[in-house]
């Protein structure tokens, strides 16, 4: 893996993510089987031992996330992946990791919920992912790939953010992006980073270290919470990522993420041929949400159309980001409809709402 001789590979999204994890220095994977992310553990079960890593199939997602917590406490780059129901079980551990400032990367190749829901693609886990998800006052970076290429690229970023900010980081993908095969351009693997000085190694020649989330003494937790808040503010300042497509002269903006954004791009091209000056804003980080570009656009555009594969979740963030003025409308496809919205369908909505 040291040299990426085959710079270009034709590969499934889930496999691109798993490949990137190893290239990003991840040597530990803990997970529990669930559809539609099976290619990630299967790839890593095969490839991790070859690079001196370890793959462990845990007894549950609860165990997986706590193994991730243990590995992260030692400063190891470790990964777990799952889908909706499993990610729900992980929320306890994610909350503890956030509270203890232990890094790790969690992948949600999401499916429909609530409950057992279905295995079709969905964006119904947006709230869970972007609002912390577990108990307590915390956030985690959330990256939303729209392609196998981004499954690859954002995995590097997820590890970097997790360690830079000492936080669990999430990748929120879906069944389509996970399963689709496309060309992926590989990068040079980064040089391994030195162990940070907070990690547990055994207290040799130094005072013992402690990673914890319990703060009972008066004022202690408030201090810790405010310290974490500074971190979240820094993340919100420095880390928003988004893509703008044909926004420069646009009067109308579609806001969509993940697979829906890809469909929307084609719809926008179609609408432009009909003379509708539409553009796309695609959040790549769902937390931190790209507030500024939406605020900026809201000064001059006439309308936003938020398109989601849920009953309307990200639309709340768009409403909170935009200045008063332009209308903010929602077009959604309830998960489990059996198909994704066709590009003509989204183009039709644009025609109806933007004309």
């Amino acid at each position: 893996m040291a040299e990426n001789e085959n710079k270009k590979v034709f590969i499934r999204g889930n496999e691109a993510l798993a490949m990137a994890a190893i290239e990003a220095g991840c040597r530990y994977y803990f997970g529990y089987p669930i559809t539609p992310q099976g290619e990630i553990p299967e790839y890593l079960a095969r490839e991790l031992p070859k690079v001196g890593g370890q793959f462990l199939q845990a007894e549950s997602e609860i165990a997986s996330i706590n193994m991730l917590l243990g590995a992260g406490a030692l400063g190891a780059r470790a990964l777990t992946s799952s889908s909706g129901p499993g990610i729900s079980l992980m929320q306890e551990g994610i909350s503890y990791m956030a509270g203890s400032e232990i890094p790790g990367v969690i992948v949600n190749v999401s499916r429909c919920g609530p409950g057992l829901g279905g295995i079709a693609p969905s964006q119904g886990d947006y709230f869970q992912a972007t609002r912390g998800g577990g108990h307590g006052d915390y956030r985690t970076p959330v990256l939303a790939p729209d392609s196998p290429q981004e499954m690859y690229d954002l995995t590097f970023l997820a590890f970097d953010l997790a360690f830079k900010y000492r936080t669990p980081a999430l990748i929120l993908s879906d069944a389509v992006v996970g399963q689709m095969k496309e060309q992926v351009n590989r990068r040079e693997p980064p040089a391994p980073s030195p162990l940070p000085e907070w990690v547990l190694t055994g207290a040799e020649g130094r005072a013992s270290r402690l990673l914890k989330s319990l703060y009972l003494a008066e004022g202690e937790l408030e201090k810790q919470t405010l310290k974490q808040l500074d971190k979240y503010h820094e993340i919100e300042r420095r880390e928003p990522r988004w893509e703008e497509f044909l926004t420069e002269d646009a009067d109308f903006i579609v806001v969509a993420f993940g697979i829906i954004a890809r469909i929307a791009k084609s719809s926008i091209r179609m609408a432009r041929k009909q003379g509708i000056k539409a553009g796309l804003l695609r959040p790549i980080t769902l937390y931190p949400f790209p507030v500024e570009p939406i605020r900026k656009l809201s000064r001059r555009v006439k309308k936003f159309l938020v398109v989601e594969l849920n009953t309307g979740q990200m639309v709340d963030d768009v409403r909170m980001s935009a200045l008063p003025g332009p209308g903010i409308e929602l077009y959604f496809r309830a998960p489990g409809a059996g198909s994704l919205p066709a590009l003509e369908e989204i183009a039709g909505e644009m025609e109806r709402r933007f004309r």
């Binding site: 007894e59 165990a63 917590l69 243990g70 406490a73 030692l74 551990g93 040799e204 914890k212 319990l214």
Partner: protein, 250 residues
């Protein structure tokens, strides 16, 4: 003059928060002595749990990570997989290990993770104020069994040391008590044996300590120690239930 007795430096010199007559202090002390005896401070990573045992890190001077309730064996697994040459132990109460963490302990034991689990069984939830634990004795009145625990309604108290022993991954499983000097001495020996099991790479080692909880049992410290002898030990017999001499190899 030769010094024959001192506090092991692994035990931090501050007053315990434990109630008078609680056995956690003794078990902490034995843990520190074992760490000291094997010279493990510099290579130990401890995993603390939730309950009265949560403040382990205030008293034992080793690198420590705090686990969510019941999940210490899973956290320890992550630790063990990353640094296989370190000494790893968890310290868990009965609510933590035998109720909410039952799945994690069984699978960790069954994988034969080379860690040591110190399990403190005081037959009750201490920190939350004396509710029924999976180990609460039949007939015992607690905050949530005001009429006494009945097997028809609440099931039977679970004997963890015997329960885990038959699992192939378990190299060592034992139950000890610290209610009197003879038992304390034997407990120390057995805890050392569990540490040695891990050091020798034999696999998962488990020591269940019977412990008094005078506050939540509503007894004086002396009466509580007597209850360990007269009620706990008859149901939870002391002894070694599994003792592997060699590591498993495929």
């Amino acid at each position: 003059m030769k010094q024959v007795f001192s506090r092991p430096p692994e035990l931090i010199d501050i007053p315990f928060h434990f109630c008078p007559g609680c056995h956690h202090g003794l078990i902490h002390r034995l843990t520190a002595e074992a760490l000291n005896y094997y010279g493990l401070r510099k290579k130990t990573i401890a995993v603390s749990s939730v309950g009265c045992s949560v403040f382990l890190y205030n008293y034992i001077d080793v690198d420590t990570v705090e686990a969510p309730h019941g999940r210490a064996p899973a956290v320890a697994t992550g630790v063990r997989r990353v640094l296989p040459d370190r000494f790893v132990f968890t310290y868990q109460g009965d609510g933590d290990l035998a109720a909410i963490g039952m799945s994690e302990i069984i699978h960790c034991a069954n994988r034969g993770e080379n860690i040591t689990v110190i399990f403190v069984n005081n037959a009750i939830y201490g920190m939350t104020g004396g509710q029924m634990a999976p180990t609460t004795l039949l007939g015992m009145k607690t905050a949530t069994t005001p009429y006494g625990r009945s097997f028809q309604k609440d099931g039977y108290p679970i004997r963890m040391a015997e329960f885990l022993a038959p699992l192939e991954g378990v190299a060592f499983s034992a139950r000890v008590a610290v209610d009197k000097i003879a038992n304390l001495r034997r407990a120390k020996k057995i805890l050392f044996q569990a540490f040695q099991t891990q050091i020798s790479g034999l696999g998962f080692s488990f020591v269940e300590f019977l412990s008094a909880c005078p506050t939540n049992w509503g007894l004086s410290p002396v009466e509580a120690a007597r209850k360990v002898e007269q009620e706990m030990i008859p149901y939870y017999p002391l002894g070694i239930f599994k003792e592997k001499k060699a590591a498993d190899h495929l």
